[in-house]
Symmetry: C2
Subunit: 409 residues, 2 copies
């Protein structure tokens, strides 16, 4: 089973919007074990959309068409699919009613244009999930199929997870279900993890199910993905549970989270379990730690706040004049001040050792400090010199250090 | 002249990397007045890369192939192009020498693999810019052309701006040069700007050169793009200068910056001109303002630091117990405290009015406060309720308020 993604929208070609939908779809298809060899972006032009669909259907079994289902005259994905199907568009009264009801519920008048969204090619099926006013469509084209989903990410994701991926798996026919779970790690390279797991990978290779794969996406650590095929969801999950136990046994606390959990999410969760609160004092990270923590769901019950110095010479303003010259003592004083200022259980901080390298030490070492209740913990880490990467790695390193300390207790 | 983008890399299809290169390329092509109707992503597979190039060259005059120029066995864009050209790959001794020298300069041993990057299809030209170890290539395929550029964004951008776009414009032959300038605005909708500029747009429509277009990319305000065709760079720039003067005359201080300037960059520039320093106290924005300011080039000479409260109930910790209950007074107290804590010329803050709406006021109003020397300025703004957008808009709104006040003085 091969499935391509065609993203529709002139704004994508002009670079006004970065096409994150296609990336997400690519990941979902890979996780579901469905091959996807090409992705295409095309503008809001009927002939060119049809051409893109034809090329994609010529070499794949299915297409996910993302975008162009809105209410305006620019939104012509429906028309292009109807042309390819050789079918008429027919207004679906139930969908029209649902769209009207949504506007009524929001207390807004419905522009007539919006009823265009209720136009469905004859022969297409409507996707059950409909979080917005644009219905998703399953459109047979000969023996093949186009799934039309809206470009609004939240709506698209709900339809794809709920209907498109299961339908693709059903069509592929080879197995009942494919399930995946991603274990997120911090502290080892991809090759280091591969070496640690080499025994498991060999053991699994013989049977070919479940499988282990590595994903090194972005800078938020390496992901270890376990994928299993089973006769049912329960069977696949049971295989994943077994394999996860093996992997956890080997990787231990290198694993910080599962699936979409970020490192700050994990640290906050451990704090929440204890009913503890958190504050930070930042210099190297310039507020980035606070920005990431405060953006996390429910953070405001745990994370109270931050004292931020942009440059080293502003740190004494935060410490009431006290500012030790060596970086390790400085990181401890900062963590302690954060904790006292906000009266929290935990204070965290990082300080960069700015001395040039000599025989006694490396250049560019960062000290991470945790003030947990009345105990103080520090760790020295060597991080990239590039300032943006240094900021990001310091945030992740600090949250990881906190997670490990909380797990230990 | 039509040019398509083909991005090469299995990691793009798997969603491990979001393809921001294609978005940037799409914007550059649009700015240069070159039509671009399709973008394709393809994995590291020789036959499929060739297929993607063939389809693209079949309907366009040129292709920018981005990625797959690295040193490993996966990097096969060169091979695919050579096959299409019907040419051999030949090692270029000058490039090989340059790659060797780069490794030597970094004090690292060069793996032999890296010399693969010096392999050039016979008949292709090397792009002059070469910031990394991967050379860019101009590869004629019949009457058409493939530009091969690396996937590393900074390297790709340098080659595209320095060679690819000018070469495409030369090939298009219609004019000597096309130049663009983008004026960045805050405080008006796209339709509002279009209405204000309707006179200019009509005046320009007759001649068709220069042109004005609007770009509503992301949430950082609407961009007004002036594009001019001229017999030389100087002629095009002169036309843009003239038109910019007209547009500035109409839009006034709605314009905050030019081209890539962000709102924080503009505010920092105005402060730098005065030799002034800045500090912030944050609650609604949770450290995002500090993170953005401290990431700006040279910020640490101007921006000293921030006091950040995640939730409203942590604000008193920052104000030494003083925390007025009404949001406007609170924003002023926060801005003043920021300024005093860091002994800066300017303190900025924002506070959300959390009272439910009644006859006297709207719900969800945010007060922006500026403490500039001994004067205090506040402004009430109504922002989106979605918390991530509210954070971003508050940061931008606050920096814009500061910019306007500094421009006034």
């Amino acid at each position: 089973m091969r499935c391509e993604v065609v993203a529709v929208g002139t704004e994508l070609l002009l670079g006004q919007i970065v096409d994150t939908n296609s990336s997400w779809l690519g990941e979902q298809l890979a996780l579901a074990g469905i091959d996807s060899h090409f992705q295409t972006k095309v503008g809001d032009n009927l002939e060119r959309i049809i051409e893109a669909f034809k090329i994609a259907l010529g070499r794949s079994d299915a297409v996910i068409a993302c975008g162009g289902l809105g209410p305006t005259q620019d939104d012509i994905t429906r028309d292009a699919i109807a042309r390819l199907m050789g079918a008429e568009l027919k207004r679906d009264p139930l969908i029209a009613e649902r769209i009207r009801a949504m506007f009524t519920a929001r207390g807004r008048a419905m522009p007539d244009n919006n009823l265009r969204q209720a136009d469905v090619p004859v022969g297409a099926k409507v996707i059950a999930q409909m979080p917005g006013t644009a219905p998703g469509l399953i459109c047979p084209v000969g023996e093949k199929v186009i799934y039309a989903v809206p470009g609004v990410p939240s709506e698209m994701r709900e339809m794809v997870s709920g209907t498109v991926i299961p339908d693709l798996q059903r069509r592929s026919g080879s197995v009942a279900v494919i399930r995946s779970r991603t274990l997120r790690t911090w502290g080892q390279s991809e090759s280091g993890l591969a070496e640690m797991l080499t025994g498991r990978i060999s053991a699994l290779d013989a049977a070919g199910n479940p499988t282990i794969a590595f994903l090194a996406s972005g800078i938020e650590g390496i992901k270890v993905r376990i994928t299993a095929k089973g006769v049912s969801d329960a069977a696949a999950q049971a295989m994943i549970n077994d394999e996860e136990a093996h992997v956890r046994n080997i990787l231990g606390d290198l694993i910080f989270g599962v699936n979409d959990e970020t490192i700050e999410h994990c640290a906050l969760k451990l704090l929440r379990q204890r009913g503890w609160t958190l504050a930070s004092a930042e210099w190297v990270t310039g507020g980035l730690l606070a920005a990431r923590l405060s953006a996390a769901q429910g953070a405001d019950e745990i994370f109270r706040g931050a004292l931020v110095a942009c440059a080293r010479n502003a740190v004494p303003d935060l410490l009431k004049g006290l500012a030790p010259t060596d970086a390790e003592s400085l990181s401890r004083a900062m963590a302690d001040t954060a904790r006292r200022t906000f009266a929290t259980d935990v204070g965290v901080a990082a300080a960069l050792d700015q001395r040039p390298a000599d025989e006694g030490h490396l250049a560019g070492v960062i000290y991470l400090a945790l003030a947990i209740k009345d105990t103080m913990h520090t760790q020295a880490v060597k991080l990239p010199r590039d300032s943006e990467r240094m900021r990001q790695f310091t945030v992740i390193g600090l949250m990881n250090f906190l997670r490990l300390k909380l797990q230990d207790n």
